[in-house]
């Protein structure tokens, strides 16, 4: 849908991207962007062009402690796949060893891989839309898209943990097909631990720009401990 006044939209989009649209007007515009593909497209247009105004910026190397802090917040292993490779090798070696010792020890040596919490998000008619599985032991969130309703261009579905007594915590944008696997941050894990429900909101492509739901909450589903 193209809003009635494209000139106004374009003027607001330009001032939003430039950064001079401030305060409640900025918040309102972000909500508008979240619900209107046309508004979102105008923002992308200005983001792409105005980026060139930063041409004269000289890159500044951030101090060395910033990257470990990001890694910590995202709960990532220090050496990424190298560490996984080492772990896999160790696991393979242990499997060979325990195979010789007997199947009982073999099964005990494997880490639990069952989901620790599950939520099925369905329409009121009972059509399953997503399966959300939390693997608390490995800090992974797996979301599987089922039969989704048609989605407006320029929008994404975003998943939220609803911790008791706290604000919603984003669990990332939902896949529209297939399965997505995400690493859980410490904040997300903690929020999930005190959530008995999850919610899905409609957000601009890429997810809420504010860290809180900005569009309509379209689904709420119970989150049940399992395993």
């Amino acid at each position: 849908m193209t809003p009635a006044n494209p000139e106004l939209v374009d003027r607001l989009a330009a001032e939003y991207v430039l950064g001079t649209l401030r305060g409640p007007a900025r918040r309102r515009f972000e909500n508008w962007r979240a619900t209107s593909p046309h508004v979102d497209q105008r923002c992308c247009y200005w983001e792409e062009h105005l980026m060139h105004m930063a041409k004269g910026l000289k890159p500044v190397q951030p101090p060395p402690h910033v990257w470990p802090a990001i890694r910590e917040r995202l709960n990532l292993t220090p050496h990424g796949s190298r560490r996984r490779w080492t772990r896999n090798l160790a696991l393979a070696a242990s499997i060979v060893l325990v195979a010789g010792l007997g199947s009982l020890l073999y099964w005990r040596s494997l880490p639990p891989v069952r989901a620790t919490a599950v939520s099925i998000i369905s329409t009121k008619a009972g059509d399953e839309l997503w399966q959300v599985k939390v693997f608390g032991n490995t800090n992974r969130l797996v979301v599987q898209a089922e039969k989704l309703p048609a989605r407006q261009a320029g929008h994404d579905y975003e998943l939220w943990a609803l911790p008791k007594g706290g604000n919603p915590v984003s669990l990332g944008v939902m896949p529209t097909e297939g399965t997505s696997t995400r690493a859980l941050t410490a904040i997300q894990k903690s929020a999930l631990a005190s959530s008995s429900q999850v919610a899905v909101s409609i957000e601009p492509t890429g997810g809420s720009p504010t860290g809180q739901p900005t569009g309509d909450i379209v689904f709420v589903a119970p989150l049940r401990a399992s395993g």
């Binding site: 330009a14 991207v17 992308c44 792409e48 402690h65 990001i70 917040r73 796949s81 690493a183 890429g206």
Partner: protein, 198 residues
């Protein structure tokens, strides 16, 4: 498809493609890809954040927020939205502007930097586009058509993260005049960009 419907008419550069591949790997929860993305993009994003926030500690905190956000949203980026660096720079700038709401009253620990980037002497290599920015003379051509005051106000806003009120104070011009310069500057830019795209 008209150029207006398409954020970037120019083909992706090798650097764009590299960032796109890394974002795709981040979406698949590959932390090595995030590390590489950080190595490539953090210096320019940190420069943006430092310029707007003026305080290194705050900029460092914002840089963390930006990369947490990039990791969480990586799966949602697609080349049809434009260049990956424009997307990442927007995440950084909007985060900084949000933080300014709370922090502008705190004294800056980094002294105010000259906002007027174009007025600084450029070396030969600086006149060419840096590696992170695709070569495009279009915006520069369109900016050159604006009045000096319009151009200056747009630079103060985009690069420095200054509000209308800040710019009024910095330039010693009435608020209404500043708003008008910016509005007209953006209008002229759009006309020029669209004219060039036809």
């Amino acid at each position: 498809m008209t150029p207006l419907d398409q954020p970037s008419a120019a083909a992706p550069t090798e650097f764009d493609q590299q960032l796109l591949n890394l974002l795709a790997r981040c979406a698949a929860a590959d932390s090595n890809a995030l590390k590489r993305l950080y190595e490539l993009a953090s210096p320019i994003l940190f420069a943006c954040l430092t310029r707007i926030l003026r305080r290194r500690a705050l900029a460092e905190e914002a840089l963390q927020d930006v990369f947490v956000s990039i990791w969480q949203r990586a799966g949602q980026f697609s080349a049809s939205r434009g260049r990956p660096m424009a997307w990442m720079m927007s995440i950084a700038r909007y985060r900084a502007i949000d933080l300014l709401r709370h922090e502008r009253n705190v004294p800056a620990l980094v002294p105010d930097l000259p906002e007027r980037l174009a007025a600084q002497p450029e070396t030969e290599s600086e006149r060419n586009s840096p590696a992170w920015l695709p070569p495009s003379g279009l915006l520069e051509h369109c900016l050159a058509l604006l009045t000096e005051r319009q151009k200056h106000c747009l630079e103060l806003a985009f690069v420095g993260g200054n509000s209308h009120e800040d710019i009024s104070r910095l330039t010693g011009s009435p608020l209404g005049t500043v708003k008008s310069w910016i509005r007209r500057g953006l209008h002229s830019l759009r006309q020029c960009l669209e004219g060039a795209a036809k």
